[in-house]
Symmetry: C4
Subunit: 213 residues, 4 copies
Amino acid sequence: MSRLNDSNRVEAFSDGVFAIAITLLILEVKVPEGGGIGHQLLSHWSSYAAYVVTFLIIGIMWANHHTVFGYVARVDRVLVFLNLLLLMVCSALPWAAGLVANYLDGAASGEAAVALAVYSGFMVAHSLTFGALWWWLTRTGHLFDTRVDVEAARQTRLRFAVGSVIYPILVGLSFVSAPLTLAVHGVVAVYYGFNQLPVPLHEGVDPDEPLVA
Amino acid sequence: MSRLNDSNRVEAFSDGVFAIAITLLILEVKVPEGGGIGHQLLSHWSSYAAYVVTFLIIGIMWANHHTVFGYVARVDRVLVFLNLLLLMVCSALPWAAGLVANYLDGAASGEAAVALAVYSGFMVAHSLTFGALWWWLTRTGHLFDTRVDVEAARQTRLRFAVGSVIYPILVGLSFVSAPLTLAVHGVVAVYYGFNQLPVPLHEGVDPDEPLVA
Amino acid sequence: MSRLNDSNRVEAFSDGVFAIAITLLILEVKVPEGGGIGHQLLSHWSSYAAYVVTFLIIGIMWANHHTVFGYVARVDRVLVFLNLLLLMVCSALPWAAGLVANYLDGAASGEAAVALAVYSGFMVAHSLTFGALWWWLTRTGHLFDTRVDVEAARQTRLRFAVGSVIYPILVGLSFVSAPLTLAVHGVVAVYYGFNQLPVPLHEGVDPDEPLVA
Amino acid sequence: MSRLNDSNRVEAFSDGVFAIAITLLILEVKVPEGGGIGHQLLSHWSSYAAYVVTFLIIGIMWANHHTVFGYVARVDRVLVFLNLLLLMVCSALPWAAGLVANYLDGAASGEAAVALAVYSGFMVAHSLTFGALWWWLTRTGHLFDTRVDVEAARQTRLRFAVGSVIYPILVGLSFVSAPLTLAVHGVVAVYYGFNQLPVPLHEGVDPDEPLVA
């Protein structure tokens, strides 16, 4: 009896996709088989690095998605569609992580650069879909609950875009150093995890107090 | 302490299956491995196309399933069974997407046609199971909540069937052009996402107001 | 802030495992690759049969699990543990379905028999774990909500065991005809879906009325 | 409209990851293929053992995680991050189980020892992340609900650490007997399932009574 314009169900579906994508990552880490377990374990280091960094990235994506939807009172068809595009990018990250795992090590350094550039491209795509979703939410604010200061929220768009400029830069950095690029992705994820853009609220609203439904 | 005839649990289970199926799609997109990353990335274009189109399709399936269940107050054994058949078709879509990925490109064009015909056949099967579910719901309306105008809902059956006629046509189109068929599937999914059949309500009922439980 | 002895969370976790296991089934259906798509599609018929039958089985397992937990008000450590064993068997069904897919066709008929016997053995294991769970619940009834007639529920144990005797028989039938055995599994699943053992309630309790919490 | 500092959503996300990881375990159990089904079934015994033990371990991890979060009223960024690290370790267990499956049998015994040492290392990592989460929760108790006796909870840290000392010991035991080490992991999981560290509550608080929200 829930309804589609009930944001809780869209959020639950999205949470499910995030949780599955983050857990599927491990399938891209090859399980050693055959002789020489020690050597084999060490030779898969790029898989482990791709796993750890991408796990953090999806985890932070989830947390930020969650924060935004915490102020969404209802959804419309456009929001559902934009959210679907966002999830489409996120769901593809196990593939992108697998690409990094396969080419970061052992391959020609030019191939590692391409792999990281593609990986960074997914983050560009994520920031674009997240930005589109944020743009739609702040355009008129008709989907937010009453706590949100829509005018102030609209003004965060530019800061949001500035914050996302790191990802195109990382596409470029891939051609300088692929391993460094992966490491920076991890650092950026943790940074955004602890320093995310707050949703601006009306004065006097305590963000820790739940909205009375 | 929830009960089987509680439609929320059937919906939650279905949402889970939709979310998992949509996320498993990425496992059918092969991760390039070995030399020539650039060439390999390009050569997998059919995987990417199958991923994007099928992701949209499952996403829209979920949204429409969700809308219908938004007016279902209770479930019976028949509805659970019909819903299970619907989920069985939906869960198989990663396989169908993998088939398209493997044959759309590179194979003889006759094989691409067969792959797309099978893929389109799954959409026929989906519209049949969704139609059966809708038929059961509208037959007596005993499972709907009180907002639904059962008489009007029953009359949507024909329009529902007419809307579904696109899928048998796409089975035929597969033999004309396989890539075009896949593209049309994507367009149709987005179209149904934004222009779905509304559930007819009694006059004066605001579809955005939750039913008082 | 939910608590472990809150049966809703155990149920939600179980629902998740059922939903994932049922959706993973498709990964055991091989996607045709290489020349001769028509021939290949036909040659995988045993995969499709294993998929359809096992999908129904897990779906009905979920429905019955759900019905029973609909009357469970609280859980204890033993119930959590027995439930974990039940889920362990259920989660392994994609493997059992893959075994049937690989041996039902093409292999020597003796091998198909072994595959179906193992598959049937999983159903024996499921009925044992489900029976143990039911036995624990009905032993003292301390975990049921107040609607359940514990004395009557305890007396269903024997009927429960009698109903489960079909599975050891199917282990034997595997050696007579493997395809027939798979078909009977499908029929039995649908039968139990529509004719499950009801949880006995006190006189005058309407099973469709939710318990006032 | 839920909020990130709402512990229920963090718990639901975590529950999802646990449920998916536990169900993905089966993908690491190879499905026999080709002639000699009987011999093949027997030769995969190490896969079955790794599946059963790791299933129990993740199940108990879930139960204990659940118990702790049952007393968490709100979350902060640090808790979300520590929880993400905990889930990262847990999500990797299908890989660790696959490693044990591949090397426990058939390989040189030195390789089985390394496989089990790595597997045990994951349990060390789990107890470290769980310990860090517990340490953060009990440090000031600001995230607990009012039932928890924070002073007493803080004093459980040492007992918690003592309980975890079993895992480094199992790293060592791997080099004595790999199969025995796996068996002990199973026994320890069941032991912790039935004898977990209770969260200390204020006097007179009934742990079975839900907190009035």
